[in-house]
Subunit: 341 residues, 2 copies
């Protein structure tokens, strides 16, 4: 167990002051002779000395760390998000502190406060919690925050990157309607979450536009999981509900839907068309490949991180609230159609 050296040790051994050592640590090209610098560098190396970021942070008021809060790292929606912000932070020599909120306001609050305690230079919140969120009170702590995929309480944030959920849902459902479907099931995850609210809005607009009355029996909310999609369809089927298509608020739900449909002997897409939402990697891997509303999550996450870095570095404005238009991507869970003009 070798001793941990501090800047004072290095200074003493090299016969210089701490200030000089500090200078070479921080790579100021000014003010240190080549010779001394070399000597100090060598000593640091020989002793395996690593300057403490903690101590530095305390004086510079910069921790070099950013927090990322997501609902659940094991949900297949998040890998792209994690990697996106991770890559951007790497490029900026920043570290990432990750935690799971489980969409639980309590946990969200705990983690948010933990970010403050650890003096994170900023945090990225990728979650869908609605009203009893701690977000409104978070500004007190003066930690810049940027939101991913959460389109209300934007005013409580310093930046945001979100997909246009209303439009995405609208397009998807319009497509189904044009395809001849009338009774269109709409299934989404956590009710009250911004994305779900907006997709519901898009769904309604599409029906309205086509003069199709909304049938609440065809609408359901649960969780963003395969299980929910599976159960929901089984429920509808057992209740004898008839429907031509399903629009799901997430790809995971859509996959559950397809599985339940197939299990019940319904042909997808011949008997029932299915469109998912998100365009996660899995939507392409799964067979049949999902028709879905694609959002570029990796890039969105990267952009959110870039934004946060800009804010932290005090760079001037630029657009701080970005909305990206999703693209309806037709694959194998919708019927092929000849292009119409």
């Amino acid at each position: 167990m070798q001793k941990k050296y501090s800047i004072a040790d290095i200074a003493q051994i090299c016969g210089v002051s701490k200030a000089t050592v500090s200078r070479v640590i921080n790579d100021k090209n000014e003010g240190v002779s080549k010779e001394t610098r070399r000597r100090i560098l060598k000593t640091m190396k020989d002793l395996n000395y690593r300057p403490s970021t903690l101590a530095r942070s305390i004086t510079t008021a910069r921790s070099g760390m950013v927090g990322l809060i997501i609902p659940d790292a094991s949900n297949l929606f998040y890998p792209a998000i994690i990697r996106g912000v991770g890559d951007c932070l790497d490029e900026n020599n920043y570290s990432m502190c990750l935690c799971n909120s489980d969409s639980d306001p309590k946990k969200e609050k705990t983690h948010l406060l933990s970010m403050v305690d650890h003096r994170m230079d900023g945090v990225i919140l990728c979650s869908g919690i609605s009203n009893d969120s701690f977000l409104a009170q978070f500004s007190k702590y003066n930690v810049p925050i940027v939101l991913i995929g959460r389109t209300f309480d934007l005013y409580l944030s310093d930046g945001s990157v979100t997909g246009d959920n209303v439009k995405g849902a609208l397009q998807a459902v319009q497509y189904l309607i044009q395809s001849g479907d009338r009774r269109i099931v709409y299934l989404d995850g956590t009710e009250g979450v911004s994305g779900a609210i907006q997709r519901y809005e898009g769904y309604r607009q599409a029906l309205d536009g086509a003069g199709i009355p909304l049938d609440e029996k065809l609408v359901g909310f649960g969780s963003f999981s395969i299980e929910y999609g599976f159960q929901a369809i089984n429920g509808l089927l057992s209740r004898g509900e008839k429907f031509d298509a399903v629009f799901a608020g997430s790809d995971l739900i859509a996959i559950g839907v397809v599985k339940a449909l197939q299990r019940a002997g319904k042909k997808v897409p011949q008997e029932v068309e299915v469109i998912g939402f998100d365009g996660i990697e899995l939507s392409e891997i799964f067979e049949p490949q999902l028709s879905t509303v694609v959002k570029p999550h990796y890039d969105m996450a990267r952009e959110a991180a870039r934004m946060l870095m800009a804010i932290i570095n005090g760079q001037e404005g630029g657009l701080r609230h970005i909305t990206v238009a999703p693209t309806l991507t037709l694959r194998s869970t919708t019927r092929p159609r000849s292009n119409k003009k």
Copy 2:
């Protein structure tokens, strides 16, 4: 932009010393009158004061953070790992610092050093890099390290949790052989990585045991991805190679294999049986569901974190190197067989 308060501010406002405030922050039940404690607590709350973990860490020599290094957060193998260590850390009020190494020794080194700089209390390394790893030199820094799924250089770590890859591969290939398969393709990810080396060993043992000569044309290494499995099979097929089954070193590879096979019109499992490795969530989601060698990744990661916490807390021994036996799980990419005795 409100002022950031420090312990000194709170002390002054409450008319007590910093020491007293420190006492209530640290919740020592000793030494603070109920009244003073109440007053201090109230003031802290009113001012939104949050003690700086950084400052505390510098004196206590404890950061309350643990680093987790994985190759790639966007690889569908890792969600379970991330969540597993995350959950354990949460329970211990620890934070997680996550980074991606891309299986690049340089990046691994950079991140490992960053962990030292940030004075992480420990790190969990979940990666498969082989020889030019920085691991051998890492012990210099006296940061406890535990390994997940990396069964060589265990002596360089303070703990480890790994699956028995030799045995897992052996079982899988033996099963295929008993199933009547003779020409068995073996595809794995990064060559030289501990897991791959061991699976290759298991593969060889199984062939040996059955007196089947090893045909190197049926063996390939690439990356742990769907793409690789897909390409590899296409390559074999275009070269006119004949084979009865495929054993893949990861589920992702196996999925690529199945896709390529199906695309080429080969029936799985009727014409070609496929067994994957890992048992990630996706192996069950994918259709056809993968027959695979399952390891409990979430639990393994959790256990690794638990181990690390024990080491950090200076708790006595217990087993510090754990090997878990994987279980061959038969699903839809192998032919049904009657049980034999």
